[in-house]
Symmetry: C2
């Protein structure tokens, strides 16, 4: 096959988040027939990639950055030139840094946009008056302070849940009984309710926009606003970045 | 990476149908966390695969079976052991036959379940009392008589739209203004209305179940019944077949 720009997606982190990213690539592409869509490969090897949050919380020894690098290299071998990783937690420096180091050592030449940086840049551009940004995420991302760090570097203030609310949001993602990872399609009413309540609470605490900082969360909340508060979807931002990196002329206007 | 069974999906025919098949693989897998899901690769190269219906209608010279074989071989190279093609029209003998011939010549060893045969088998098993089966499809599939042939071989009778209704169903799929290929997410209300009206008409003509015989159609009609008539989704049947071919112990009970 000819060497052309191609979008790669690291699937399996989680599996439905991989499909959500691919769908958002298609949704944001100017296309009216099959043949207008962009070349894309999604490789979902969930059993090989350890849980990112469990690693950050010290519950697992194995750094998932190593397995992520393997999947990215495999995507490059297939022909991908820009790869998206639809997992916010995977962008914590301990994980993303190791992955990028392995990619450099192996002579990889592809682009891996940083989902968190792109999200912060997009907020600055689309919502220039916003100063206080709420963040909902897994407890791994929460503990790592990932979003607050990047927001602060950009002169923005992070509004995060207290411990009790954080525990609820984490359960809405991870509970095997009602969480989004175990029940992605359809998402349970209970998970939707917890996430929307959390958005409202952060909004009342002063957040002027809320980042859905775990790729499972946009599966539960598809609205662009909740109770008048703009909701930011990093998966969509990553999708648009991947199109910009490969076929910028095909990006649908926002 | 170790050689393990892996599901491959030929994406791009159409792009959203590829995601729909992947989603239905995940939906039909017994899993409660990321790591429980099956290894899967989706390769979407839409610009390389000519329109299947246009070929069958004589509007294109190039048999898309050749490009389909290339994508399947690429999926095998990546590690896929069972590949699904989420396009009913691609299973017409002229296209599927050429593809399988090329795969044999190249020494391919993977399994490519035949979506139409599997659908007919599933109807016989799940709805044993049904004799008359309605079929909605592209005009390419319609003209090729694909479903009627396989249904008749199984002792079932096909109920198909008259020319006027067929034209409408085809437009619900292909119209750049309101068709499902150009507007997949969300599907337009007009496309949904046309498809549901067509289901009702075939039901009134005596069909006891209706096959959504184009992978775009389940994007418009997600119900399992319309006006009391069971609706058969070949994409879901193909998803379940792919799980059976790779990890049968992980197939969710129906």
């Amino acid at each position: 096959m000819p060497q052309i720009p191609m979008i790669g997606i690291v699937g399996g982190v989680g599996p439905y988040a991989g499909l959500d990213l691919a769908r958002k690539v298609f949704d944001n592409t100017v296309a009216s027939r099959d043949q207008d869509h962009l070349p894309l490969v999604l490789l979902s090897l969930p059993s090989e990639i350890a849980d990112r949050t469990a690693y950050l919380l010290g519950e697992l020894q194995e750094n998932p950055g190593r397995a992520l690098a393997e999947v990215v290299l495999k995507l490059e071998e297939i022909g991908a030139t820009a790869v998206g990783i639809p997992c916010n937690t995977a962008h914590a420096p301990e994980i993303f840094g190791l992955m990028m180091q392995i990619l450099r050592e192996k002579g990889s030449e592809l682009t891996v946009p940083h989902m968190i940086q792109e999200t912060v840049k997009t907020i600055q551009k689309r919502l220039p008056s916003v100063r206080r940004v709420g963040v909902l995420s897994t407890t791994g991302t929460y503990e790592s302070g990932l979003y607050p760090q990047y927001l602060e570097r950009a002169g923005l203030e992070a509004v995060v849940p207290d411990r009790e609310l954080q525990q609820k949001v984490h359960e809405a993602i991870y509970s095997t009984e009602f969480g989004i990872k175990a029940h992605s399609n359809p998402v349970t009413a209970k998970a939707v309710r917890i996430v929307k309540d959390a958005i409202r609470k952060l909004h009342r605490q002063g957040a002027e926009a809320i980042i859905l900082g775990c790729t499972e969360l946009p599966l539960a909340v598809t609205e662009k606003e909740v109770a008048g508060c703009p909701v930011i979807d990093p998966t969509e931002i990553l999708a648009r970045t991947l199109i910009l990196e490969t076929y910028p002329q095909k990006l649908k206007p926002y």
